[in-house]
């Protein structure tokens, strides 16, 4: 291969773009107009982004993190031959330990292919699952998903096959497949990465879901905060329609499935499935009481599958290789793999897809490499803003649904946010309550009013000026906070109000010293409100 027609991969993933990938691509194209630049997804090694790769006969060779000003020296080196002389050389991509030690199943193609190229998709195993599904009876598709042991990746971990069975069994001429792409949890980006890096995988999963339950219309409810994913999904849907993968004649089968992306509008609660359905219908995102389940009375009153992006994107592989193969990964009742997301104050942040059962410590230390600040790691929050804050003593817990439930926590969507020792957990608890006041749909008093009271009570606990400073009074306020949390847990319709107490009580339980009035940061925090 002559060097000036070399192929170079530069991600168009949000995180890579946020660190300058577009400028690197422009600089490279400008200095070497003959280079063939492919804009792929990200491999998920985010601390190395923008990470660019050169195709060589031995495989792809990575360099990173590359800034526009590095382009000149890269081109002056043996970069286009995949040589090792440049300081940003990282070696063969697939041999970088962070990647080599993962079990990439759902994310097998992410970062590898051009996300909108159907040729790439087919060449890397895409559409095999759909072809199999087209040859099966609806019940057989559902059975395959049941065999896989797949549980919903959006947070609640409900068995996907059972949900699909309910929709299949619900008699109706009109049914819907709704993909929950609202990904509102802080510390999570797996849905985004998949939609930006392998959108056809989600599209294929949704078509298979449609075939499984007899639905011919799908919607992807995407958060407005993801403009890059929006553009890539729309591009991919248009290509899939052109190629008769979507539309009235799926791969020549005569079967029909149509798909649209709908944008949310900055409401965290619209990630809750019934609020999401209200929003799709064009209403305020007020949570509906269950029952009836959305599987029976869902979008526009019709039976509806609501599944998370990763749940749906797991399905093509399950159909292609069989549910039996998928369930060989994992432990106990947590089957398959989970894309963990390392975020926050972490040196090597990124996406780590592993079978269930790895320990949190492995993720934080072996993959994460400790904190980015270099200070000791003190707490991690797992599972988004409704997830627990865990101290080091609990980092040996294996990452599976049941083990986490046993310590009063949840794996949720797999987001892990690390904090160093400058964190003040009473401030974090206060933020959890504040977030609930901002994002509550307003239907239940304990959620709407309780969270406002929660902020006030935490302020009283941590502020010694407002009270006479008596220990007794402080104890009273802590008791009040615990009662308030209890009321929220028992008096809320959905997990917004019902689980906000989890970060609060875990912070209080594991880090009580941070709630003392003289704890660092508590004085400064007073009055530093959000608005």
């Amino acid at each position: 291969m002559s060097t000036n027609t070399a192929t170079v991969y530069i991600p168009r993933d949000t995180t890579a773009l946020s660190l300058g990938a577009d400028k690197v691509a422009a600089q490279l194209q400008n200095q070497q107009p003959n280079i063939n630049i492919v804009r792929n997804g990200s491999r998920g090694l985010f601390w190395l982004e923008p990470m660019i790769e050169v195709a060589t006969p031995k495989g792809r060779v990575a360099y990173g993190p590359v800034q526009p000003e590095d382009v000149e020296s890269l081109l002056a080196s043996d970069f286009l031959q995949g040589g090792s002389s440049h300081p940003l050389y990282l070696g063969l991509t697939e041999q970088i330990p962070y990647l080599a030690q993962q079990q990439r199943v759902t994310f097998a193609r992410v970062g590898v292919t051009d996300p909108v190229s159907l040729n790439d998709y087919r060449a890397h195993g895409g559409l095999v699952g759909l072809e199999k599904a087209l040859a099966l009876q609806a019940q057989a598709i559902v059975d395959e998903v049941k065999t896989s042991g797949l549980r919903g990746r959006g947070g609640a971990a409900f068995p996907t096959g059972i949900k699909w069975q309910t929709v299949l069994d619900a008699p109706s001429d009109k049914k819907y497949i709704v993909c929950n792409a609202d990904e509102g949890d802080s510390g999570t980006f797996a849905d985004r990465m998949l939609m930006e890096g392998d959108p056809y995988c989600l599209i294929e999963g949704m078509i298979i879901a449609g075939l499984a339950v007899g639905a011919d219309q799908g919607y992807i409810y995407l958060r407005e905060e993801y403009p890059v994913a929006h553009a890539i999904l729309n591009e991919a849907i248009a290509c899939a329609e052109q190629a008769n993968i979507l539309g009235d004649n799926i791969l020549g089968s005569g079967k029909r499935f149509n798909l649209q992306v709908r944008l949310g509008a900055g409401a965290y609660i619209c990630g809750e499935e019934t609020s999401l359905l209200e929003s799709l219908e064009g209403k305020r995102g007020m949570v509906r009481a269950k029952p009836p389940l959305p599987a029976i009375v869902g979008l526009f009153g019709q039976p509806t599958i609501v599944n998370n992006v990763i749940s749906l994107a797991s399905v093509p592989d399950i159909l292609a290789k069989g549910g039996e193969h998928y369930q060989e990964f994992g432990t106990g009742r947590s089957r398959g793999t989970l894309p963990f997301q390392l975020a926050g104050n972490i040196k090597q942040g990124g996406l780590v897809e592993l079978a269930f059962g790895a320990s949190l410590k492995t993720l934080l230390q072996d993959f994460g490499g400790g904190t980015r600040s270099g200070k000791p790691m003190r707490a991690v929050q797992i599972g988004g803003p409704l997830g627990a804050y865990l101290p080091e003593e609990l980092w040996d817990t294996p990452l599976d649904y049941e083990a986490f439930m046993a310590i009063g926590a949840g794996v949720g969507h797999g987001g892990i946010v690390a904090f160093d020792d400058s964190v003040n957990l009473s401030q974090q608890a206060r933020f959890s309550m504040e977030f609930c006041t901002i994002e509550s749909c307003g239907k239940c008093t304990p959620c709407r009013i309780g969270s406002t009271r929660g902020v006030e009570v935490i302020d009283r606990i941590t502020n010694d000026e407002q009270r006479s400073g008596s220990l007794e009074e402080r104890e009273k306020q802590i008791e009040l906070l615990e009662e308030l949390c209890d009321t929220m847990v028992h008096g809320s319709l959905c997990a917004m109000g019902g689980m906000t107490p989890i970060p609060v009580t875990s912070a209080l339980k594991h880090f009580p010293q941070d709630f003392l009035p003289n704890a660092a940061g508590n004085k400064a925090a007073q009055g530093a409100d959000h608005a």
Binding site: T15, T188, G349, Q428, H530
Partner: protein, 165 residues
Amino acid sequence: MTTTADSSTLAATLNSIIAEHQGLEGPLLPILHATQKALGYIPSEAVPVIAQQLQLTKAEVHGVISFYHFFRSHPAGNNTIQICRAESCQSMGSRELEANIKQRLKTDYHQTTADGEITLEPVYCLGNCACSPAIRVNDDIHGRVTMDKFEHILDELLTVAVELK
């Protein structure tokens, strides 16, 4: 421009947006998005028009607009900057960053700088949490933001406007 011209432009824009989306199932959010994209906000005059054409009450349309943080009923600046306030960014110093940016721009959340250039908004996660703290400038997301980096971003953003003056 006279008010009459303004309102007839508004009516024309709205009518074409509504016509384009009316065939969708659940057309209200797509219409509101398109309106805000075209006009920068959803003017109160739009509410009765949308309501009438979708056979909703004005209160229903208004209720939807006010429920969602993203929709605004008043004009914004030429650019919108969102600062992520969620946990992952907090762990990397976003509380301090947010205070510094507010001070630098002399503005608070939901407000616009005196020169009309920048509207500041809070946001809860941009999905860029492996490279916190994050901000969004119009449709561009930036990671590992420091005040130095912010000055750079601001420079690039405002250069064009300044040159025109």
